[in-house]
Amino acid sequence: MAMRIIRRQLPIAITFLTGMIFLSEWFVTGTVLTSFTTGLSNFVQSVHVFVFAFAAINLTIVHVGRIRRQLRAERRDLTEMLLSGYLLVLMYLVGLVGAYYGHVRMKIPSAVPEYLWWFNNWELPCEATAYAGTLFFVLAAMYRVFKIRSRETAVLVISGIIAMLGTTPLIASSWQGFFQLGEWLDRTIVTAANRAIMIGIGIGTILMGIRTLLAMETGYLGAKEE
């Protein structure tokens, strides 16, 4: 019973209390509650210093596990093993170089040329390309999925193509029709539809929040173990 309280009831109570404090602070700004929420958000920030380091530890556990499984397996996938090892070595090399020079020498990693070299030539192109690479998936979806299958998809596809034609400078600079039609759709129907979805999401969030605070949705704690 005592264990149950410590393991389950107390976390639920904490959720309820923090949620209610943040919610009440919105209405009575500037009382003792505000300094409480400020303190709490500073606290969460301090806690996050540790969660920040979580990523590296997690990755290490996952990949060391993978390498060990490969070592035990009958048919070894050598490339997989090498790739995992490569990942770990690269991560710690870059991370520790950055941490050492960054903290000991300059107090901030972004001021260290050695670390900036890594960042600019490894991290930056990777992230920029991965993010921009969404282009290829949008293109593929345009070609493969954007088909007039039914009346509903016809509406979706045709308005999409109008919007696209409107944002093509080559067309917009010679004939403004698509540009204006796209702009009109954007200003009326799209704005209004988004408004309706926003109202729905708003009320849905409130009710979902109430259910969470009242411990009806406890998915985040895992299911009951007793």
Binding site: S46, M91, A196
Partner: protein, 222 residues
Amino acid sequence: MKISFVDTLGLWIAAILTIGITSIAFKETLFSRWSERSYLATATAVSIAWFPTNLDRYILKRISPGGVWTPIGPTGGYIFVVFAVLVGLMAYGRYSRKYFWLYRYMLSLGVGTGVGVAMRGAIGANFIDQIKATFLNLLVPGDVYTSFNNIVMWVTVLSCLSYFIFTIKTIEHPTARMVSLLGRYLLMIAFGVSFGIANPTRINQYAGRIVFLLQEWLKLQA
């Protein structure tokens, strides 16, 4: 301008990684797997590199905010920091079979904050402000265009809202069904326009990579 060997090496690595990550969209190969792992490694390395700086600024400096030793306050204090460190360390409880429930304390603090912040935003910005924005003048004197636009917007908001009704049985009525069907079609138009705009967005972003490859790496000028 003198370009050192290290800079050239960096340029080549950046270019190879750019091509490698792009190739993921085409097909899975050894090259794409290598670039994916490199990405994961360097992205995680950032968290290691910033750890001492963050530790110094958000834990050590907060023990005595402003150089004064205070037990607890909104910006720090030693009791405050001890608690923060304890809760932060609880997150690691999940690696233990016996003490896995420890992580729940950190999580419940997080979920409480998240839900509270989400709810307070939802009432004002999402619910009330948007209802207020639907108060439209449907018959603007002497301005047919604006009146028409307002009527379109008003019909769209109401019919789309009716599409989101779940438990009131009246929506099964044929007339109500027509309205919510209209709402669905209008939603589809909105989605179509949003999807269409995604294409230029992504082309713009990829353009940065193309400019890098051609002008910085291959040194081709327009």
